[in-house]
Symmetry: D2
Subunit: 300 residues, 4 copies
């Protein structure tokens, strides 16, 4: 990793060494907020941000909360904190996770030929807007190597097609495990993943699809958008599941087009939307802002 | 019609008595722009706005142009102008129409129960932003009568369902012909039209669909958008053809939603998008800005 | 008031008879959220929405929270609820208000010649999107009477100019007090208000200014925007203070313009922005979503 | 210059060797469009795009037109074409320029400490969206060198402050003349330029200002935006004149902020707007789409 990026990450870790996030989901029931607030107060936590949502405001639904907080000398409090919280977890039957902000997430980027989404992520990373350890880039082409290696990131060229999918994925999974990857970003990676791969990294694979889903599922969305004569084109970032382009949507955006834009022009315009939609989704993932619930996401 | 609206229309007609639009489409071929420009120059036309588009900028495609112009004492020049233009039409094999701005278009609005799109059109009309003669409103419910009649517009309550479709449409067509209607706006009219009706008013029927087509064709788009967990909802205005929600798209727009918005909230948010998308489409139709070409529109 | 609007308001009141909002601001200090959550839990409140903000997340700033909740049989609990809360108010030195959703706010609209903002508010009101009692309209012109009276709203034509300002305002204030007005909306009212008037209705007067403030403070913003050659025009809704166009901003939005748009066209485009910006601000005011803090607003 | 970028530029030049643009402005007068259209037709030009604008559609104003066209074997026709056009120039007293698309423009980028706008331009350039020869980068700091030199662009570190302004500018002007620079982009260059410098490169210097002008002219716009409590922040790209932030505006855009965003957060959000606004302005400059007229721009 380039020294100026490593330096930014170090500063970030130091500045956030006392910062944590608590993510909870459970059956909605009275008293959760009061209990959790009291718990954090008792542990001298300073709440920086708090978001909650209930699927049914009248009760009986699912309840979600994300609290970002700071505790003095957090490193030495963590064990006690998590241990004390076990009681509340049991009492309310919570699914709950503590996340620590200085534990920088390890990211792998997959890319095929078109580099624009990869470049956007690298750009945001260089600018200090994506606080991650981009541990490796995997591509079925060799063409993006020259953007990646100068930044000190290893680039793995693993040719792929559907006949050798199994062995390709074994190689990929080995690399991902070796690097202890937390998040896989498909930055316009044009290969289908097997159910085995998807299962191995459940809710950890973020894809960008170049249409506003559910319109234009599958191949060649810009060509089909042009054929249909739409006045808006879009992009969708979603978690990968086994149903093509059907996973939980994280973020979408659109751009206006008109009759002068042919499929080629739409593709150009769309790339800019793809870039920003994917970058936002990845950022939210790094910030632990996304909770998957059924086939939807809650983005706090 | 209310007196203050009638007055606005009269002023508009007077101010635009010398203003016309020439709309052309034809095979792209050299010399058209030069010839038409020369023709208008020779007839002392002052060009106010000119837009052109060719499906293939390298030639061999279809060519479209819309020119808005003024000619002193137009009323007395019209016959000569149109007659002189016949030669050019023949020479280049043009499809061409002259439109005269002071010939206010007659509009019929169809509505079912939800009045928001109807109200938007009436509002724009009262504000002087929709220079049309809203000649009648037809509804399969009686509920919107109280918005319509105080403005001096006749309101026809014609109950409808699929069993009596033929006779209902006969009654509707009779009214539309009697009023010499130029444009039919389906402002959330929830009945299917027969091919006979559609054919009778080809490219004259503008519908608003409450999704960003081609996503969520058909019934209950907001419910389905909610089920899919989309982050954007939209609306689409299009010409009605015999394929449900498949006609040429005129305009689309979207609004952002998030996990807190259920189907009911999406519907509320969406209504605002529907209103503005439909109003824009109708305005462009009145201004002769839309050319239908295959299953697409050129909007100048 | 027209019967169908009165009916909507009645239904709304009935549906929300158990719903309340608690708005708090105070010095940021540990334990507030825990204490208030516990208080509401102890009073069997079901929390529907909760938003909080602190000017300094690291402590020592000002803290704000808005909680919307329901309590079974609220009417008979109110006294006890408010009385019990006094202790917490004292303990944390809170500024706190309970608002009850079925206490529909009384609104007065002021308008001069241009009716577009007035019409938008009346439209939203008819559509059921503005749950208010629009008690009266006051204008220095008689031109909007015909939009207002058919809806059953009294219209007061009070000619005004700077020479008779004092007596005009006395007449206005008398009317506003007689109608027990909660919110005054200046829907393009082109008269300056005196400090006395502003003081009488502090943080209750919402104005729409036709520029993105602080650009183009004062008269003729569209003309000046055109002269400057801007590519965006905007509108700003803000509370009225004694400094012209300097009050706390509630909402702003913009629309794109280009070189073809002269001042007249900008005005037309801008009116649409003014309408939606003002309508949003008024809606938030009715929903008790706005807290004024210094010269800024927190909009929850 | 990196080989893959050089290759893209070569391909672009080859693909556009027959493509030219004709830009005209003059007093509005009858017959210009007809005459110019006929001229291009007579010279076998295929018109790809044509845009026109008149400051006063009723005549008597200023007239502008930009025509993009192709002529077979353009290289060998250029002399005759320009020579033949002299007659029309004289006849209508036109100010007219032919631009040839394969004459790639030479660009110099000036930057101070914050690299985000520089990085965006380099990014667009690498992606093939900015068809320019970025000939050099000049900075009063050495910090951006590591982004620039790996791309094969010379980086000149010229420390600057107001005491040594004259000698600094002499050094800069020498470099710019040596490289025959066509466009100077101030990508967050925080030094004032002298009238001599501005005059030397009139209408060739594009700046990005980090506010929606004319709001927050001068220093620290984000801090001032935060103090004022605005709900939108923006950025403005404009030509540099001797009046600080008063030059002709090319492009503006905004992003929404709320009460949670302090000056630091606004700066972060704003940087993204600055990037895209500046990139659009530079792209239009390279495409010869901008005509300066008085203190405004026409962007075709």
């Amino acid at each position: 990793m380039k020294s100026y990026i490593a330096e930014k990450l170090e500063t970030f870790k130091k500045n956030n060494k006392n910062r944590a996030r608590l993510l909870i989901n459970c059956d909605d029931q009275p008293g959760i907020v009061a209990t959790v607030s009291q718990f954090l107060y008792d542990h001298q936590a300073n709440i920086l941000e708090s978001n909650q949502y209930s699927t049914d405001p009248n009760g009986g639904g699912e309840f979600f909360i994300r609290i970002e907080f700071e505790i003095e000398d957090l490193k030495n409090q963590v064990n006690q904190l998590e241990q004390d919280f076990e009681e509340i977890k049991d009492q309310f039957q919570l699914e709950a996770t503590f996340k620590y902000v200085d534990q920088i997430k390890k990211v792998a980027i997959f890319v095929s030929k078109e580099p624009h989404c990869l470049l956007e992520l690298l750009w945001e990373w260089q600018s200090g807007d994506l606080m991650a350890d981009i541990s490796l880039v995997i591509s079925n082409h060799d063409t993006s190597r020259e953007f990646v290696e100068p930044l000190g990131i290893p680039y793995y060229h693993i040719p792929a097609n559907k006949d050798i999918r199994k062995q390709v994925e074994e190689e990929q999974i080995a690399l991902l495990k070796e690097h202890e990857i937390d998040v896989i970003v498909l930055a316009r990676y044009m290969q289908i993943l097997t159910p085995h791969f998807v299962e191995t990294f459940k809710n950890k694979i973020i894809n960008i699809h170049h249409s506003f889903l559910p319109a234009f599922i599958g191949a060649k969305p810009y060509e089909r958008a042009y054929q249909r004569g739409v006045k808006l084109i879009g992009a969708t970032s979603h978690y990968v599941t086994n149903d093509l382009d059907e996973g939980p949507i994280i973020e979408q955006d659109i751009s206006r087009v008109d009759h002068r834009d042919n499929a080629e022009a739409m593709k150009k315009i769309g790339q800019s939307v793809e870039r920003s939609v994917l970058a936002r989704a990845v950022k939210w993932q790094l910030d632990d802002r996304i909770i998957v619930y059924g086939n939807k996401t809650i983005v706090f």
